[in-house]
């Protein structure tokens, strides 16, 4: 703990101009690393020197390095997406002609032999639309195709992929296949029937699909013809296009023939890569699909190598063994940039970080809006982004980030104004010097989370408020939040948050478990907006809701995370805001 408070001190030196940013990072790194090694040496001293009379076999069983910000065991992600772009079909401008002519006469020099992706965990299954898990979803989406997808050319609004999507009326959606000859890797031709059968499988409780709840309002699925299918919902369901992203059709004849287990272990999709081999906890190997319907694939093989330890993934990248890693920690940026084999690719992610100011709990000081606002005035978010994140985070004005399709662009962030904060506290009758707040924070779950939490506490300390930061192991943190046992502040991230409903309705209604902020009137407005199918009308409602949450200082608004990838120099790879790490459009890079 000592090192962290010193980090806080360093942070101060930075804010007051006594220290440059680079120095801060250097010193912080030294402090962090120093503490780790110090701790371990102490622990190790205990089994040093005895010559084996009694053997303590548990000595190193528990020594796992918890310092890296790498715990990326699959974030639970919420899929979501906007409704205002659903019926334009024009972003499907890739001519979907069968590109089987592309592979024979093309020199392999235009392709990469193999891209190995270092990823923290194994897939939990290769059956699509079954388990919500980031890692699992990424791998599945290389073998299968999504029904619709986030479109990077359209600020990640949902656009056509296998199907276009169109609103017929408030309760009816029509999907149309973009091509009449999309084939599975075994030759089976994709039809509207495939979507219907899979969606019905999801709806069958016996299959325990995580997506069952997400498709709850879907009442009826109707095949119109080979290329067209319709969905009728029991209530207006504007988030439906977002939900469809996860629907990845499987070959029916094959499924029928081999059964569930074999389909999950030996998948056959329509995607850019074909299944080759899956060794649990070791790797998933995929081969290029030479006949990919959408475009020519420029990678001969993709390997996902499961490497739980971040430092090992980074070493592998630097040694040239793997080509892509996600979530490079801030203090390793220079290491990667200085290496000849690799570079950094970074993009503001749709995942947001915030500090909840619990207002809906008896006795919380944050019941008073002025105190919540004061917190927002008192924390210099820009300085934290510069100092701790080396600029690799993007400040958020309100509860939605810039890449969220429904963001209200007119909202201005709270300026850094400690005097205003003190005024507000005085108005509220709160003496900051008497105020003591506990803030729960995870460690290693989000980029630089422990340092950022410590810095926020230090910022508030400058106006006299005592903030005790309580660091939790992720599981404990989540339990505390769910059971409402956190301090009056807690640090959390959420994403991918690409549209309003999946974010706002989930976070700010009911007892607002994950946001700590709720208001009965606001809740009504949110439910209303969430049942509005017309995009413009819905947007107006979301705009107003965001204004209220901002005015009312529902959170201490922080930043969007940046997804920071380490990428081999010879590989062309474009990171995406929706966390979709996809090799389908990767290729060789000539530098």
């Amino acid at each position: 703990m000592a090192d962290l408070s010193s980090l806080g001190n360093l942070r101060h030196a930075l804010a007051t101009g006594q220290l440059t940013r680079r120095d801060l990072i250097k010193r912080a790194t030294v402090l962090g690393v120093g503490a780790t090694i110090g701790g371990t040496l102490l622990a190790a001293c205990e089994d040093d020197g005895d010559d084996g009379e009694e053997v303590d076999d548990t000595a190193d069983a528990g020594q796992v390095d918890l310092d890296d910000a790498d715990d990326d065991d699959d974030d639970d992600t919420v899929a979501d997406e906007p409704d205002d772009h659903v019926d334009d079909e024009d972003h499907d401008d890739e001519d979907p002609d069968d590109s089987d002519d592309a592979d024979d006469d093309e020199p392999t020099g235009d392709r990469v032999d193999r891209i190995t992706v270092g990823i923290g965990a194994d897939a939990l299954t290769l059956m699509p639309t079954a388990i919500v898990d980031w890692t699992t979803g990424i791998m599945i989406s290389h073998i299968y195709d999504r029904t619709v997808n986030y479109d990077p050319d359209d600020n990640f609004a949902v656009g056509a992929w296998l199907c276009t999507i169109e609103v017929i009326d408030d309760l009816t959606w029509e999907m149309q296949l973009v091509d009449d000859n999309i084939q599975f890797h075994n030759g089976e031709v994709l039809t509207a029937e495939h979507f219907k059968v899979l969606l019905e499988w999801v709806q069958d409780e016996a299959n325990e699909s995580h997506y069952l709840e997400r498709f709850q309002p879907v009442e009826d699925i109707e095949v119109i013809d080979d290329l067209t299918w319709r969905v009728t919902t029991s209530e207006p369901f504007p988030i439906f296009p977002t939900r469809l992203v996860a629907l990845e059709p499987v070959p029916l004849e094959y499924w029928e023939e081999v059964g569930d287990d074999e389909l999950a272990n030996n998948p056959v999709g329509t995607g850019p890569f074909m299944f080759n081999e899956w060794v649990r906890d070791e790797r998933l190997l995929l081969d290029r699909n030479p006949d990919y319907w959408k475009h020519d694939v420029q990678v001969d093989q993709v390997e996902f190598r499961f490497m739980p330890e971040f430092s090992s993934r980074l070493s592998s990248l630097l040694a040239g063994e793997i080509q892509i890693v996600k979530d490079v920690p801030i203090d390793a940026l220079d290491t990667v940039e200085d290496n000849d084999e690799a570079r950094i690719e970074s993009i503001p992610s749709s995942r947001v970080n915030y500090v909840a100011l619990v207002n809906n709990r008896e006795g919380s000081v944050f019941e008073d809006v002025r105190v919540r606002q004061a917190i927002n005035y008192a924390v210099d978010v820009d300085a934290i982004i510069d100092g701790i994140f080396q600029g690799e985070a993007t400040k958020m004005a309100g509860c939605l980030s810039e890449v969220n399709a429904n963001v209200n662009p007119d909202i201005e962030p709270y300026p850094y104004d400690p005097d205003r904060a003190l005024e507000l506290l005085e108005e509220a009758g709160v003496d900051p010097n008497e105020l003591e707040i506990t803030m729960d924070a995870p460690q290693g779950r989000y980029p630089m989370d422990a340092d950022a939490a410590q810095a926020i506490a230090a910022e508030l300390g400058r106006i006299g408020i005592t903030v005790n930061v309580q660091f939790n192991e992720w599981g404990t943190h989540l339990d505390k939040i769910v059971n409402r046992e956190t301090g009056d502040m807690f640090y959390l991230g959420w994403g991918p948050a690409l549209e309003a409903q999946g974010t706002i309705e989930f976070l700010f209604t009911g007892d607002s478990t994950y946001s700590g902020y709720g208001d009965p009137e606001l809740e009504e407005m949110i439910f209303d907006a969430g049942r509005t199918v017309d995009p413009d009308e819905a947007q107006e409602k979301w705009d107003e809701i965001q204004e209220i949450i901002h005015e009312d200082a529902g959170w201490l608004f922080l930043w969007q995370q940046h997804d920071i990838y380490g990428v081999a120099e010879n590989v062309e790879f474009t990171p995406r805001a929706d966390e979709f790490m996809w090799m389908g459009d990767a290729g060789p890079r000539n530098s």
């Binding site: 739980p308 430092s311 090992s312």
Partner: protein
């Protein structure tokens, strides 16, 4: 002898039963597992239904009895996160862990024991001091630090060895070295001290006086007697190697059971945790039984009763 083995086997069952009981309650203390295998936005009603379905709402003693009832039949249930049987997941990872453990044990014996003997024979020499220094390092540098340093030096800097994974012999080298470091040191220290002990005994002096060659004195007569304590710790080392595998497998992405245990602990995947623990307990107790048998075999004075 047979009676002894049977009694020990019964003893083993009892130990495993105890371990299972303790671990069962310990894991339950960590909290609600449901959030770890369903999406965050699952509705409260649905969460409740899932808890009901998995029996997490039942009184703990009921869950315990149910679990024990199934465990007796070798059924630990399905993994909460992956929809596979926990036993199957563990079984699939055993070969990798055994391979690593066996390699590390072999390396420890082949390097540690000769190193210790060398030290004993050259007591006080520079070589002895160097060996002692290496041993102390091996005992005191934690596995994850050593693993990372090895990776940095041999993979990133020199580019000689692959950083991680399993398959080729080259990939086995660093994990084995990391896992074996502690045991090598321990064997070296122990064989040095017992060897010194034995070499001071009367019968060694007699042997030398009789004109036996020095190598015969050391490698046959002295080593035979010095080997008994080594046998004892070999049984215990097995447990150490399994424990160490958790860290080493994590660092080197070795697809074994230690890594599975860590992942399932962090994700509160109770069935997998329990299945792994049973395996660890089984190996540990088996090894300790084998050690005792070997002990009796090596030293006829020992009577197993």
């Amino acid at each position: 002898m047979t009676a002894y083995i049977i009694r020990r086997l019964i003893h083993m069952v009892f130990v495993i039963f105890l371990v299972l009981t303790v671990v069962f309650f310990l894991t339950r203390l960590t909290g609600d597992p449901v959030h770890f295998f369903v999406p965050m936005d699952t509705s409260r009603a649905n969460l409740e239904e899932i808890r009901e379905r998995y029996g997490f709402n039942d009184p703990l003693w009921q869950q315990y009895l149910r679990f024990m009832g199934d465990a007796v039949r070798g059924d630990f249930g399905d993994s909460l996160r992956q929809r596979d049987s926990a036993t199957g997941l563990v079984l699939a990872r055993i070969p990798a862990t055994l391979q690593l453990g066996a390699a590390a044990l072999a390396v420890s014996l082949l390097i540690g024991v000769p190193l210790g003997i060398f030290s004993a024979l050259n007591r006080g020499s520079l070589g002895d001091k160097a060996a002692t220094l290496i041993s102390v390092l091996g005992l005191s540098v934690p596995a994850f630090l050593m693993g990372l340093l090895l990776i940095l030096f041999f993979s990133v800097y020199l580019g000689w060895l692959p950083t991680s994974g399993r398959g080729s012999l080259a990939q086995l080298i660093m994990p084995t070295a990391t896992l074996a470091a502690f045991s090598v040191a321990r064997y070296a220290r122990l064989s040095r001290s017992t060897m010194l002990d034995v070499l001071g005994q009367d019968y060694i002096r007699t042997g030398r006086a009789k004109g036996l060659s020095e190598s015969k004195v050391v490698w046959v007569h002295a080593l035979k007697n010095a080997s008994i304590p080594l046998l004892t710790i070999t049984g215990l080392q097995a447990g150490h190697l399994l424990g160490g595998a958790v860290v080493v497998e994590q660092i080197f992405a070795w697809p074994g059971m230690g890594r599975l245990l860590l992942q399932s602990l962090l994700n509160r995947d109770f069935p997998v945790v329990m299945a792994t623990i049973v395996f660890v307990a089984l190996v540990y107790t088996l090894f300790s039984l084998l050690t005792d048998l070997a002990y009796a075999w090596a030293n006829p004075e020992v009577r197993l009763k």
